[in-house]
């Protein structure tokens, strides 16, 4: 069957639909954000509230908290659509599944990842990060969360047919996300020390380009297996 709607049109329609659905349940959108803030609060409480020490741990705390909270949201990326059969219809629609999966991932990042990037300076400030470094952290998180969403789309697609999949999803995605953590925390670290942080940021960009081009293909293959 040759679909009448163009590929890009289908992708934008899908993004629109996902965004609309997400904003219908606006309170759920806040959950990862609140989680992010709560986790960053846990560290000063459990370690020490001294500014010098907080500054040492700040890059790590910010990135670990961001990784965990976007990981929590990943479970919802395909689950509800797979349960009510929407995903099956999408696969049957004749549109390239790669594009549809990439569109869904992008929509998911717009409501889950981008807000995290926007409020990250708030958490950074509470940990005593200087304003310059906040910007670098936000830039790094911008690329990092998007990369994680694409990586996570593979994990989410692989665990479509699995019950209680959220722990398994984390187990699959976290080892693959370690380079992100390394480069991201490194960029913040360098910026806080007042040094040039463009190196790790370029590497994050490279990871983003690499993942964004390849992960949708793996995720599309996994979706096909999941819905059949």
């Amino acid at each position: 069957m040759i679909p009448r709607t163009g590929m890009m049109r289908a992708a934008t329609l899908l993004i629109e639909r996902d965004l609309r659905l997400a904003f219908r349940r606006a309170s759920q959108l806040c959950h990862p954000l609140v989680f992010f803030l709560v986790v960053t609060t846990l560290f000063p409480l459990s370690l020490s509230p001294q500014p010098s020490q907080l500054r040492d741990i700040a890059p790590g705390v910010l990135w670990v908290a961001a990784l965990l909270s976007s990981l929590l949201a990943l479970d919802a990326l395909l689950k509800s659509d797979a349960e009510d059969g929407t995903l099956e219809q999408l696969v049957l629609s004749g549109q390239p599944v790669v594009v549809l999966v990439a569109a869904k991932t992008l929509a998911h990042w717009l409501v889950g990842g981008l807000p995290l990037v926007i409020i990250s300076p708030l958490a950074a400030m509470s940990l005593g990060v200087a304003p310059d470094a906040m910007l670098v952290t936000a830039e790094g998180l911008l690329m990092g969360t998007l990369t994680l969403s694409f990586l996570g789309s593979v994990g989410a697609a692989l665990t479509i047919g699995v019950r209680r999949s959220s722990v398994l999803l984390s187990l699959l995605v976290l080892p693959l996300a370690m380079p992100l953590l390394i480069f991201g925390a490194r960029a913040t670290d360098l910026a806080m020390a007042g040094e040039a942080s463009s190196g790790p940021l370029y590497l994050l960009g490279a990871l983003l380009a690499f993942t964004a081009t390849l992960a949708p293909f793996a995720a599309a293959a996994a979706v096909r297996i999941g819905v059949e």
Partner: protein, 245 residues
Amino acid sequence: MWLWIHKLGSPPHFYRIAGLLTPWFGWSAGVLIAAGVVSGLFFAPPDYQQGDGFRILYVHAPSAWMSLFTYIVMAVAAAIGLIWRMKVAHAVAASCAPIGAAFTAVALFTGSVWGKKMWGTWWVWDARLTSELILLFLYLGYMALRSAYDDHQKADRASAILALVGVVNVPIIHYSVVWWNTLHQPASVTKLAAPSIDPSMLLPLILMFFGFNILFGALLFTRVRGEVLMRERNADWIRERVSQL
């Protein structure tokens, strides 16, 4: 040639051939490893810096190599299974995971024992140790994904995709860890193996290397046979075999 490969792809033939090869592989691995252990423990001279402590190298290095090699075999088998829908290839990939995880665990354990002796600590966040640990997590994730599916065929194909994603990521993870490590760690402890090694020390290492590779073959054949039996448990050829017993 092609006929032979096609035959290998059919479970009964593979089962038979693997059964014939297993004792050959098992015995030659046993002989090589025994020779390697004896020459490594008794005939190789002690290291001028590390004394007798370096001898754990003869287990550590081959198992670290095998942990990577097994992952590559697993990914290649997974790709073959995914592309040509070969049942046996999926069985091979599934059988690789526990063996690879075991090799990784052995490499980590011997590494930390060695580290305790040489560096005075069980664990340092050395690049090799860290990427080996991540490799173990990748194996565990693969096995967890397999066991999460009830349906064999779905488990095969989903885990095959994961193995391929993993094998693309292993170099990235490795180099990012190395890069991170060189920034954080003093370089003095990371130099594990001196590139110049005396022939009398090298020979046991070569023996162990081949021994471990062949041991992997024997273990893999045994596991795949079990896997094939489980998957084909309702097939006629197994019923015939059982009735012949």
